[in-house]
Symmetry: C3
Subunit: 347 residues, 3 copies
């Protein structure tokens, strides 16, 4: 990212980021800093202003983004019920990606029949294979591989070292981090007495617009038809998305999640880290899946689930609380049983 | 994959794939489609013909692969008790891998003392290091790295971006997906009061024939001797195979599994996704390990295990069922205890 | 690794590795072998000498590293209470890394304003981006990417295929295995009714000295400030280290662990495989975290925890033991309840 040399008054910033100004609207803001490391002339987000400890800091920020103004702090505030939103807009205002040079690096390899838009950028040692299409504004980092007939939509960015195999379709404004592999073979084998026979994976992958994939995440190609990721889907690092999986719009998936073959995660689902999904199930729209959950069945829209096997989150918490009492429970039962037997109430 | 322009009658196809023809043996089949997206002139596998819904489809397939013919469907059938096997053979008949050009790409780097067979293919920006041997028919994708003295057996295929370090031996007809790393350092450190001392990892990796490794899977080199993977072993994406692990023939390992150092997974074992294995244990031949299992001890041949710590699968299911009843159990115990105390049956 | 042609007497070796010599101090040792595959003239570590079975071996080692001499074995011994330490030193004495040629490979790409020390080595198809600094003795493997303004400290080694993005700082003598990604975007999105807005990740990564990262491990850049890894931290394969995580000196983290955003793992912590950490928690110095643990809260220094949610390890074992008795417990309760009801002791 690049920090721009912008000098903006708090009033002007509020017009861009949202939020109402409390005191010092003429304060000049040049960037965003963290609340732990205040920088003069920068604005910081304070989610819990009571915990601020600047005793060791030599500088103070120019202003704070808060949900409520804080009397004891002698600073201007940008007040908003959703401070993260204001913070996000401020970061986006002050920082932008470095723009690589347009055009194809002399040491990249582009097949003669590939189609690279003039405004696209192809880095050193990247390979654009036969009949691939790289649309306007696309950035292909160093050492990336784009397979034959694959299409990369406008303004999509591939960090260095991304591999997209043949016949894949990628939408616009996506960001794929380094080590992402799209279109590898799905895990399909038919066991026979003479060994495993590979099921050719002849389908593809289709990814929508505004999708972000984390470092070293894998999206396998389908056996037939396509593995599909909708629009505005955000996926963290080291996630496994198997063949023929379908993921709906706006869904967010945290690191090290695994989604088995043919499973459908509908739109607006939130999946916490390390959760796993059985193959061939449907996780309904708007569901929330807890960290490390093991989802073994269909999930109704709007569910909140956790645990393994994943259950309704409230039930899971009850079971968990009960489990904590289990050693005590056994002791109590032993005691009751002994007393009843001693009194010959029971055998 | 490449779809061949084959026009084959259902009778002729059955001779290749197995299965008995029901009706319309003269029907011409040109390819394989999925049951959800029927394509005219293609054959589809119908595992559950009663669930077929083609109300929105504009085309019908030429024939279906089924376990039993379905009266209400006016289509020819290929009938077999194992429809997946027929489906697999049909896919293999109609689709074959693209054959890259033989020879070394002008922008690959091959060490002067490396040995690349004339029928092998080495892609752009691939590196074949000193004294490596690339046998006949091998395909090395773009950007792959093959370390010094490493041997790649005949007809093995490395997708783009595979890294195989020095002194490794790979068998024939293997397929390694992008991002695979073979021969990285095993995780060996000796803690001392002055910090961790690295244990040099001076062993190697030996991989048999017909092994498939999924994207971003790691196989570490041994501390001494070799990490070994047998023949016909199939490993999914993002799997960790630590130093000195041994895996027997025909074993299948799903995504995100982790196998700790020195553990032996014998032949014909099936491991579901996200399972983890303690170091130094032996998992006996033909065992089945459930998803997310945590295997902490030796496992007898033919076992079926699940849960954490992994137990016999039936026991694990009983415990799981009992766990679901736990909140209710506590309530019942509370009630009994209270009544007995009220009656002064117990203290 | 390279095995040196060293002929050393056991007495001389003991002076290097530590340990007291029992018998045959003049025995010549040329290398280290495993106890399972003895090699003449080599020394092996025997952690459990009673289990030695050389019935199928044609050779015997020159000597053994043991905690106690074994009468029945007619061999010289190197005796030490910590045989692993002696073994480690012996391996380090007999084996050293291959030294690649110094200098920049003709087919690497180094930006004009990058600074590569003359004693550094940059492999084929590696990219050193604008204003990056590669210090003395650094080894950059084939196909690595070092981003703009990133600094790599002296004698650090990047195996082939490592990606380090812009503005990152790496210490001295680190070893990063293939597929490592450092400085990818942290997973930060602000959900709105119109979709997810990306939070720009404008922070960086700072890594200390003597850090080792396993294959395909990811370290995300911070939102603001830095994701920090201390000195002598050892991380295995496929580990996720999220944005703004802090890891203290000497900590060891096994494969497939996931650490969520802003979490602090203090110094001298040991984390077993597949453990996961909630975001924003602190794991105190010297703690030991069990395999597959799910850590959801702050952890006091010196704790030993396991399970999900992670608890004190002893409590976790008690709960686990109790869980095993659960089906039996339910049966007992049913029996008591029935008898009491039959006798009308309870309702």
């Amino acid at each position: 990212m690049q920090t721009h040399d912008k000098n903006t008054t708090l009033n002007d910033l509020a017009a861009i980021t949202g939020g109402s100004v409390h005191g010092g609207g003429d304060a000049v803001v040049r960037g965003v800093c963290s609340i732990e490391n205040p920088v003069a002339g920068h604005i910081a987000m304070a989610l819990d202003p009571n915990k601020i400890d600047w005793s060791g800091a030599s500088e103070r920020p120019a202003a704070l983004i808060v949900t409520d103004p804080v009397d004891k702090l002698d600073l201007p505030f940008l007040v908003h019920k959703n401070p993260r939103l204001v913070f996000t807009h401020a970061l986006r205002y002050f920082n932008t990606d470095y723009e690589p040079e347009q055009g194809i690096a002399p040491n990249a390899f582009v097949a003669q029949d590939a189609d690279v838009a003039p405004s696209a950028s192809v880095g050193p040692f990247a390979v654009i294979d036969s009949k691939a299409q790289i649309k306007a504004g696309v950035i292909i980092g160093a050492g990336c591989y784009v397979g034959a007939r694959t299409v990369i939509g406008e303004d999509t960015k591939l960090h260095p070292g991304v591999t997209i195999l043949n016949d894949v379709t990628i939408g616009e404004r996506c960001i794929f981090n380094s080590g992402v592999v799209i279109g590898g073979d799905g895990f399909g084998f038919t066991p026979t007495p003479d060994g495993n026979i590979k099921v050719p994976q002849v389908g593809t992958v289709e990814i929508g617009n505004d999708v972000e994939l984390g470092a070293n995440t894998c999206v396998d190609r389908a056996t037939l038809d396509a593995t599909r990721i909708g629009n505005d889907v955000k996926v963290d690092n080291l996630v496994q998305i198997a063949h023929n999986v379908q993921i709906g719009d706006h869904t967010r998936i945290a690191a090290q999640v695994g989604i088995s073959g043919r499973t459908i995660i509908e739109s607006n689902v939130v999946v916490a880290g390390k959760a796993g999904f059985q193959n061939g199930i449907v996780v309904g729209e708007g569901s929330i899946v807890g960290g490390k959950a093991g989802v073994t069945r269909h999930v109704k829209p709007g569910s909140r689930i956790s645990g393994f096997p994943a259950r309704d989150h409230k039930t899971a918490l009850q079971i968990q609380a009960a489990t904590n009492k289990l050693p005590d429970l056994i002791e109590r039962l032993n005691k009751i049983e002994k007393q009843l037997k001693d009194k010959e109430c029971i055998q």
